[in-house]
């Protein structure tokens, strides 16, 4: 597990920055929504055009409840965590080629599969730590702003949805780094897919005729307004995201094994 330990050490500073940003986002976001909820926020937001409500992720939430406010904030939490996961997935696989350390690492008695495994484990550890920090901060912040709030279960459900999203986008980043030699291109494509699927989610919400495209965007799999309404995750979408994640990870191994390394 030497590569795993090395990757954890190499990424901990960046992880701390992401954790600080996440904590700041949750506290400042909840503070703002608390102020809104005190002034008939639902009425206030209804004057917004539907398109703006969708783009800012405020469509379908009841802002007079604390979990409704958290649901709106959750979109930004998802965007932050998935950007982190996507970039991490792409970077951790391709960094040896980017930094030209391939000729140090790969002549060592270690298979490419083992390198990928240890790097992905380190990435998953980073992602899980960010998720736990998000969960704990969310529970504490929501509790601090709503003394009588007792729906920690829903925060946990939402954070578990977040974890599925993080793992899926981590594997999207990894698969492009596995396939492509150029680390800049792989990171750019993976990030473009993240933003593209987000835009797709907005467009589908605005135009019900495009509902058939909902399987193409993971943002639709874990729509916070639907989860809060249903009270649980949709088993079909969880299964779909797990299957996609597994397929992408297997593809990462196959592609990385098959191609020449950039040296």
């Amino acid at each position: 597990m030497n590569i795993y330990r090395r990757e954890l050490r190499a990424h901990y500073k960046v992880l701390i920055v992401w954790m600080i940003w996440m904590v700041f986002l949750i506290i400042s976001g909840m503070y703002k929504f608390q102020a809104l909820s005190a002034n008939d926020a639902n009425g206030l937001l209804k004057v917004f055009p539907k398109s703006l409500q969708v783009i800012f992720g405020i469509s379908g939430f009841n802002l007079s409840t604390m979990i409704g406010a958290f649901g709106i904030l959750f979109l930004y939490i998802i965007l932050t965590a998935t950007i982190h996961a996507t970039m991490l997935g792409a970077e951790i696989i391709s960094k040896e080629e980017r930094d030209r350390t391939s000729e140090f690492l790969f002549p060592k008695p270690v298979s490419r599969n083992l390198v990928v495994t240890q790097k992905l484990l380190a990435a998953v550890t980073n992602v899980v730590v960010l998720n736990l920090v998000t969960l704990v901060t969310s529970i504490l912040t929501v509790a601090a702003f709503a003394k009588d709030f007792s729906n920690n279960g829903m925060v946990i459900v939402l954070c578990s949805a977040l974890l599925f999203m993080q793992l899926l986008f981590l594997s999207i980043g990894a698969v492009f780094a596995g396939i492509l030699k150029n680390s800049k291109v792989s990171a750019s494509i993976a990030t473009a897919i993240l933003l593209g699927t987000y835009v797709m989610w907005v467009v589908i919400d605005l135009n019900k005729n495009l509902e058939f495209m909902k399987y193409l965007t993971p943002f639709k799999y874990f729509d916070a307004s639907v989860i809060i309404h249903d009270g649980h995750l949709d088993v079909f979408y969880v299964s779909l995201s797990v299957i996609l994640t597994i397929v992408l990870i297997i593809t990462t191994y196959l592609a990385f094994n098959k191609r020449d390394l950039k040296v």
Partner: protein, 295 residues
């Protein structure tokens, strides 16, 4: 026993040829030179052997095991020093070397001892950060990481860049010491002089193909020798007509010079019949041999 054996090993990068039909046999305990100019296919061969890139066709074995099937197992006994060394940021030399050592099954205490011995020999401060080291010192880190696990095969790809002449000498001495213990060395270089100093046999590679494999001695013997004769009187050109293997003949009032390739007795008979005041026979250096195959 062949430590490295390749059969028709071929590598294309898309449509571009890297190496083609490469047949090599490197025997246990020899120092094998691999020479050719930049882009001839030396690094491609080495990177294919190490599994960094995959062969398009052909096969290769190291220690008798197929490189594509037994990569990690084979690499347990290989030490590699690339032409350019790049390491991880913010690491001290000792941390990088310990990380390097952690890949091998060998006892970590023995590796630690070996790191310290090699650092002392090469005069390297292990506590310094790699980012702060000069290129030559980074190269020393590379040498240590290639040798710290006492490999049975050392592969060096143009390894001397950045080392000053004194350090090059120490490095060559170190390699000779390893070789005496039975270690096989594949030494790739475009600097012919260092190959000549160190290697037993040499392969000359041109445009991705091996054009000659021979011992350094045999290469020198079977190529041109330059004869420079000083004579008491002017020699008539006709004395050399009809002798096979003479070229570049220049005759002045008191000297004759020419290149000769062929049976040495034929030419010594002619020389013995001349009224000489002095004679010089020069062995070609590897550079001349190299140019012979390249031009």
């Amino acid at each position: 026993m062949n430590i490295i054996e390749t059969k028709k090993l071929t590598k294309y990068y898309g449509d571009t040829l890297g190496i083609k039909d490469l047949d090599l046999d490197i025997q246990q305990g020899e120092i094998f030179g691999f020479i050719g100019p930049n882009g001839a296919g030396k690094s491609t061969t080495i990177r294919t052997l190490l599994g960094l890139i995959h062969p398009t066709a052909g096969s290769a074995t190291i220690f008798g095991k197929d490189i594509t099937k037994f990569g990690p197992e084979i690499k347990e006994e290989i030490g590699y020093l690339p032409s350019e060394v790049f390491y991880y940021d913010n690491m001290k030399a000792i941390d990088l070397l310990r990380y390097s050592g952690s890949f091998y099954k060998k006892d970590s205490k023995l590796i630690e001892k070996r790191i310290k011995e090699l650092a002392k020999y090469l005069d390297l401060d292990l506590k310094r950060k790699i980012d702060d080291l000069s290129y030559g010192n980074k190269k020393k880190v590379g040498i240590i990481q290639g040798l710290l696990h006492e490999p049975k095969l050392i592969i060096l790809d143009e390894p001397t860049g950045g080392l000053d002449p004194l350090m090059q000498q120490k490095f060559f001495d170190l390699l000779r010491e390893e070789n005496k213990k039975g270690v096989t060395i594949l030494f790739s270089s475009h600097i012919l002089n260092e190959v000549q100093k160190l290697c037993d046999r040499v392969a000359i590679i041109k445009d991705g193909k091996i054009i000659k494999v021979d011992s350094i001695r045999s290469l020198a013997e079977n190529t041109h020798k330059r004869f420079m004769l000083e004579t008491a009187v002017r020699v008539d050109k006709s004395r050399f007509t009809g002798i096979k293997g003479i070229s570049d003949l220049v005759i002045t009032d008191n000297s004759v010079s020419f290149l000769f390739r062929g049976h040495i007795n034929e030419i010594t008979k002619i020389i013995a019949s001349l009224n000489l005041t002095n004679m010089l026979v020069e062995e070609p250096d590897l550079e001349e041999i190299f140019m012979h195959y390249y031009v």
